[in-house]
Assembly symmetry: C4
Homo-oligomer: 125 residues x 4
């Protein structure tokens, strides 16, 4: 169970941070998420590139997912090298120094009842 499992690279073609929220807590503010599982015994150095419709990609955004840990990242929180704009179409590619699993989830509370969607990212290697 502590073997390195998963893949070194993943893609998510969807990407959109809803620009409004009816929720006011961090949990219920609209957010776009990539969840990463590193089930192995070595820390994962994660790099994420963000692609847009009308300009050059931005990144890499850099993170560490510890050994035997999960990291649920919100694109809303990305700051370096630049925030990800709200209300804008994007895509992302996630690469890792060790095999991981990546899954994409959105919570949308623009209207007064939350909506959810989720799908595994697409493995690239």
């Amino acid at each position: 169970m502590t073997k390195q499992i998963g893949r070194y690279a993943w893609a998510i073609a969807e990407g959109y941070i809803p620009p409004a929220s009816t929720g006011t807590t961090r949990e219920l503010i609209s957010h776009e998420t990539v969840c990463i599982l590193n089930a192995g015994d070595e820390d994962a150095r994660i790099e994420i590139m963000v692609y847009f419709a009308d300009r050059e990609p931005v990144g890499p955004y850099k993170f560490t997912c510890g050994a035997r840990r999960t990291l649920h990242l919100r694109f809303n929180d990305f700051t370096d090298p630049a925030p990800v704009p709200k209300g804008t179409d994007f895509s992302s590619v996630i690469t890792s120094s060790v095999p991981v699993i990546a899954q994409h989830t959105r919570l949308d509370t623009r209207q007064p009842a939350l909506a959810l969607m989720s799908t595994m990212a697409f493995p690239l290697d």
Copy 2:
């Protein structure tokens, strides 16, 4: 990160444009979407065929997704060779001149609280 990644062909078995909306802005009108990521350095010529329950397929609908760009396409917006009817079951096959990633998303606001769903398209090659 700028290598050609993904596949040349994808299928989406679900397809349905909800025929009504409680939202009035473009963002909150019910829509059926295919999101495409072209992470490579060459433009992607995209062709989409749409399949129906009771008549011959329609298409190809033609698009270009630039190098290092994403293209979030709404079936609602398709016009040439013919609009995709609302409230009608369909499926689609996406082919590309270079490898891309494709993901399917629906936003449904027929009732006064939006619903979302998303899944990677199925890679065919």
Copy 3:
């Protein structure tokens, strides 16, 4: 685009027909769906087995998806050899005489705002 694409067998581990609806039209009654795309030039003979938590599987349910057609099937509508009970956990396995694509979708209107979920079925061959 008219080649036989996809797989001969698919599995959906989730299965549940919500036992109530706030919607009253066929479109807005809670339903559990498998969408099939047959992009090839030969009709697909489809067989679906339904698995339960506490009794033997039921089926096969038999359908035909024409050449170059899509078939969006509701488990709610299954009758032969037996209806699929509402409010009951199940799973399904879809087999086809020719390669097809299968995708799982649920629309749930038990509470007064619809919810949606969708995922590609899992290819078995």
Copy 4:
């Protein structure tokens, strides 16, 4: 149809039990689920490890999915070796003694209209 189908190991990178519910029945209390299909003729011994953001993984949680049966498991119900905390990010890895299919679903009723999401788990072998 009674052959052993599927895989021996699956991963779900997302994991979160919503800490509140507007629904009051078991069906409408917010829940995080993994659905397992064992279409084969031999019982499946299932083990699930749960991974967290900031501490060592917990498990294995042990279950049996009978031959030709489905098992829809709620992380909410896990007790041994320890409950899965609500409102906390986690991931999971599912292993089985025989091939099975695994799918991830969440029902969220924190706001007064349920939300759903679902995706196939990621096959590891």
